[in-house]
Chain length 395, copies 2
């Protein structure tokens, strides 16, 4: 598996476009990813009860056998817009499908941005011909740019992977920097690949990869109404996976790496983030508890602020651990900061900590519950005054 | 029921002291509340798995029939200190009890402050005679002052209540401004009363009162290792409650008012808080769901920051609602900001909001799930850059 150039269009047969339609005042706000041949597509969606119109619609559209394109707008979430909002998303897929010559259900629709406003449909409809004429195979980051909201840079990566003696490509773009909390896919991402794979298998692969990547990051613990990840596999590499086995395993491993790369990019670009934090929870009886401990620490404001201040105040790590819904045995818990043990079997060590500890840009916290064999890693960012500045006057 | 002067010592037979023992560099750090006659005492404690030594000990001590005193230190939580920490708390109760002439189990012990450091026992032991000689009945706020950590002012209140033709008094002090999240009692509080009441009834009354007060506030969603509320009833008013009935009901209602007053003081003094926010969740099928919705909104960073910025971005209220663990029906949900409807049956209203909306120091958010009859109020504060400043370099 190796990183390659080419971005989202690195896999054979994929095209991208990113244009300014006028939803935002000047930045790119409309993206299109298109496969020249029908592709197998699967998606994972937010579990928020308030699902935006495009989430409701795209979930339904995924019942189709194959898909041609994904259209994504930024600047407006098309959420809390009721039946009229659904009709808007349907109209976008309908008009785009007649321009590219497919059924409307073969066009998946995503939106991201402010909640509670109708889409400016006139602007979007007028922009569709330009969107299509802008499609290209070049490595332009245009689509990755057009899906950004408060992101400070586009997130895109592509890999080439050997499957047996042949090679396939896979690539992805993602957006997200606030309202990030794992629950299904907690951001917007599109993954393209030229492998051929059955729908059920692609679903399984996507779930596995997302569990250890997009579902293992949190920035602010807020769950979006619009999150989804769509994966499209068009088979143009000639490599076909029709059942479990070595090829499937290789593909899943590659997909995991790709998704984790994108997920980490999101954390690094967390709103106002100054630190990248890895929380390694081990020795858990089950993965659910390990995840809960990791997320409880990651989402603790007191933990996030101590990371911002580079203050090795490990009592807050213990307090967050102990706040999970199931009792844990404090007398077994070891806590490490940047690899150094600070709490040994529930008791704080009185050692003088080295001056450099917890002072870097990448912080490591490890918790060993010493109660089992499960291990989970959670990635997060610190909380800085800049986060508040960004979010105090968003609308 | 009427507010009276006198503070924590307003009820007959209670004495207070607050001194500087040297745990902190200069502020008061050691408090004592003492009843001249043995009192019935009950307590509620944090459900954090990492319980501080004084929490473990005081829970055990509450098995005694009566109690004489509560000693509280600030500046050090005596948490993550293992068996040695327990021994320290025992020693404090032991030495104090021999000075005041009771059993060690009749002295309840509380600590609050930094986690992971042993108590400076020499300083505390040397200070005990001064602590006792400082006991007084005056309205001095000394005890309320000595239990403060990052609080900016002491929290104390006292009431006189008519029970039938006679009057009793009840009073309370509390501390807390960060690490506030409901789960049992989420701060430190002592409530004194001169009513006479059976242990089991006092327990029941305390649980009821705490549910609607201390357990209905959140500042940062972080659960402390040291939280507890202790209530002492010494019977010196001559009024005795020995069973349920009108007198008990009057007492519970008064206790609720007192606890809610103290709880709201904590929220108003939330670290860095600039706003007081009431979240009113109604129309819920059950109180658990109503509480979860209220807390999910209250603890959402995006919600807290929009309150700080006075930005009526109600989409974040909806997103937080939808993120609860059980599905809710978005098509039934109404959302109000400062009394004005902004989301009607799951659809955002496109009205222009008045300029003054969401601009005050007291913000009101109401959510009607239109799915049942249960209603819960949650109180919280906003999130300002000052919170981060306070917590980035605490240790």
């Amino acid at each position: 598996m190796k990183k390659i150039r080419g971005g989202i269009t690195a896999p054979r047969g994929f095209f991208q476009a990113g244009i300014h339609s006028g939803i935002k005042s000047k930045n790119l706000d409309l993206a299109l990813i298109l496969s020249e041949v029908p592709a197998v597509a699967r998606g994972l969606f937010t579990s928020n009860s308030f699902k935006a119109a495009p989430v409701v619609l795209s979930r339904k559209y995924l019942n189709m056998k194959a898909h041609k394109a994904v259209i994504i707008n930024s600047g407006n979430a098309n959420c809390l817009t009721g039946k009229a909002g659904i009709a808007d998303s349907v109209k976008i897929s309908d008009e785009l499908s007649s321009l590219i010559g497919c059924k409307k259900e073969e066009v998946l629709v995503c939106s991201t941005g402010i909640i509670g406003k109708r889409l400016p449909m006139g602007k979007i409809e007028r922009a569709l011909p330009l969107l299509i004429s802008s499609l290209h195979r070049a490595d332009s980051k245009k689509a990755a740019n057009a899906i950004m909201t408060t992101d400070t840079y586009p997130k895109e990566i592509s890999y080439s992977v050997k499957i047996g003696s042949r090679s396939i490509k896979l690539a992805g773009i993602a957006k997200g920097s606030g309202m990030i909390e794992p629950n299904m896919a907690t951001m917007l991402a599109v993954v393209t690949t030229d492998i051929g794979i059955k729908k059920g298998l692609l679903n399984k692969a996507l779930k596995e990869a997302v569990g250890e990547s997009f579902n293992s990051i949190t920035i602010d613990g807020d769950m979006s109404t619009n999150d989804m990840i769509i994966s499209m596999a068009n088979g143009l590499s000639g490599v076909m996976i029709s059942g479990p086995g070595k090829a499937y395993t290789q593909f899943v491993e590659a997909l995991k790496v790709l998704c984790l790369d994108l997920a980490k990019m999101i954390v690094r670009d967390g709103e106002g983030a100054t630190k990248f934090i890895e929380i390694d929870v081990m020795g858990a009886k089950d993965v659910f508890l390990a995840r809960e401990v990791g997320l409880k620490i990651a989402n603790s404001l007191l933990f996030k602020t101590m990371c911002y201040g580079s203050d090795p105040n490990f009592g807050r790590v213990a307090a967050a651990c102990g706040a999970v819904s199931k009792p844990i045995k404090p007398e077994r818990v070891d806590i490490y900061l940047d690899g150094r043990i600070v709490v040994d079997k529930g008791v704080a060590l009185t050692q003088k900590l080295p001056r450099t500890i917890f002072k870097g840009k990448e912080l490591m916290v490890a918790v060993d519950l010493n109660s089992g064999k499960e291990r989970v890693k959670i990635y997060t960012s610190d909380l800085s005054p800049e986060y508040i500045k960004i979010n105090a006057a968003y609308s």
